[in-house]
Symmetry: C2
Subunit: 303 residues, 2 copies
């Protein structure tokens, strides 16, 4: 098992932890129903560069909306999406962090309107259609092959030891659900994420254009409690938005393991720490296990 | 199997449905991961008369709060709780339905404040302490023995046929979670219900005194989609608050079964239709299966 992980301290930390909590006669035994593991998605289970896969999905939708309604063609973010003007999109985010939310709010409003007032089943159909042929812009592979093989193998390894694995992501819950089964073997009922409000009408559940919650940072432990009702004993993340989930897991009354995936592999994936600086500091302070993609993973993708 | 169910059309409807959806070569086959069954709790899985069990829990808490803080002693609903003045409580609800929410709002405010600003684990501890010795006021049994044996047997029967069973209740999600395992074999992650907002602080998740959602009526299909991400093929309820959940299930693209528990057994439990009138009308119109406690159940409780 864990053949896509190189031998070394990281793999040992995982194997030792799982050995301890599953040793029935040992002092650290945790009953199977309490063996809950939570995984961030973007950057932890699959690629998040050069842009979130969900953002690619949304940009294609903006373009489609502009084609259907020419009055949108010269408005942002439809114009940027149609012209593939990623600078406008990048600037909107940069300006947001500089305190100017003008463009960011325009983008957020369009995101919430992109799939408004359709049934949840129709929404799932659009996502399946996207993943049927969308490819990663630089890695020369379909998005459905952008999951990290060592993490998928870890999920199987944990399940083989009685764990139940959940995704707890800032990404859209109902965006992820149709694809987490094929990619990671995680069913829709174990996907926790951001969501728009839903509304019931005439025997169907419809999307709205209101944000219900953004599942990031301190919201992650709250949403996972809402969904699971147990404190996890293993958490894996890769960015500042995962700190509270890792912290919450670390404070378990049981032994626990915290994994932080470090993107340090420019050859096989990407090399960046932007957005993860604080989580790396916390990992060093708290003794969390940093997973080096470059050193700890024998392979990154399954093919 | 189903030995606590009398032979007759209701039991046949259940057995026939399960036979159809599990027959691999048949036209109605549903894959195991799609076999989702949802159960209301109060009045469907356990007693809700003479008052909701959760209300008893809250009244004891009000009394405790009034003992700790004498300034509450003469205020409602603490006064009613201390004096066991159930008329005030009943009137508050009656007046609510007559359009006067004065007392109802006082009661609701106290309910939200009853367990405010404690960790979710401490909250679970209070619930376990309540169920350790609280008894039903008229049925001469502990609350932990107030689950309906035929429904628990049904849950096991469904699980034995590859179904996954969830509770989807108007009751408090985190009130039910500690007890649904021992009572029904349903773990916390499969309990959907009403909830106060939660907030993260210092590695813990705390209760707040804000209602996050009241999981009743049209909210039930929304909350169950949030939690499960699949449309159920079996739903069981007993009141007007279950209509939309039954309707949502009935509109599945798969074969589906709707059960409506009718309380018509004054000898063994209670006899009432108040609050269920509309659901009974809908059941007649839509062809849902009405479960007569008196005629369909060989036993009501397991002892």
């Amino acid at each position: 098992m864990l053949s896509s992980w190189n031998d070394g301290p990281t793999k040992s930390a995982i194997v030792d932890f799982v050995g301890r909590v599953t040793a029935e006669s040992g002092p650290d035994f945790v009953s199977p129903e309490e063996r809950v593991a939570v995984f961030d998605n973007d950057g932890t289970l699959w690629c998040e560069k050069p842009m979130y896969i969900q953002l690619d999905f949304l940009l294609r939708r903006f373009k489609e909306q502009a084609e259907a309604d020419p009055t949108l063609r010269d408005k942002q973010p439809y114009k940027a999406a149609t012209d593939a003007d990623y600078a406008w999109l990048g600037d909107a985010v940069t300006k947001h962090y500089q305190g100017d939310d003008t463009d960011f709010n325009i983008l957020a409003g369009a995101i919430l309107k992109a799939h408004n007032a359709i049934t949840v089943e129709e929404h799932a159909g659009r996502i399946n259609a996207f993943f049927a042929d969308a490819r990663h812009p630089t890695l020369d592979r379909p998005y459905t092959s952008c999951g990290y093989a060592p993490m998928v193998e870890l999920i199987r390894y944990l399940e083989g030891h009685g764990f139940t694995c959940y995704i707890v992501s800032g990404g859209g819950r109902d965006f992820m659900r149709p694809i987490t089964g094929p990619l990671y073997g995680i069913p829709p009922e174990r996907v926790v994420g951001s969501a728009v409000g839903l509304v019931y009408k005439d025997a169907n559940v419809y999307t709205t254009d209101e944000l219900e919650f953004f599942d990031d940072g301190p919201v992650k432990p709250v949403r996972l409690w809402n969904r699971i009702g147990r404190r996890p004993i293993l958490a894996a993340g890769n960015s500042n938005g995962d700190i509270e989930m890792l912290e919450f897991t670390d404070a378990s009354s049981h032994p626990s393991l915290q994994l932080l995936v470090l993107h340090d592999d420019a050859d096989r994936e990407f090399d960046y720490t932007a957005g993860a600086e604080k989580s790396l500091d916390e990992a060093a302070k708290a003794g969390w296990t940093v997973v080096s993609m470059k050193n700890d993973w024998a392979s990154v993708f399954s093919d």
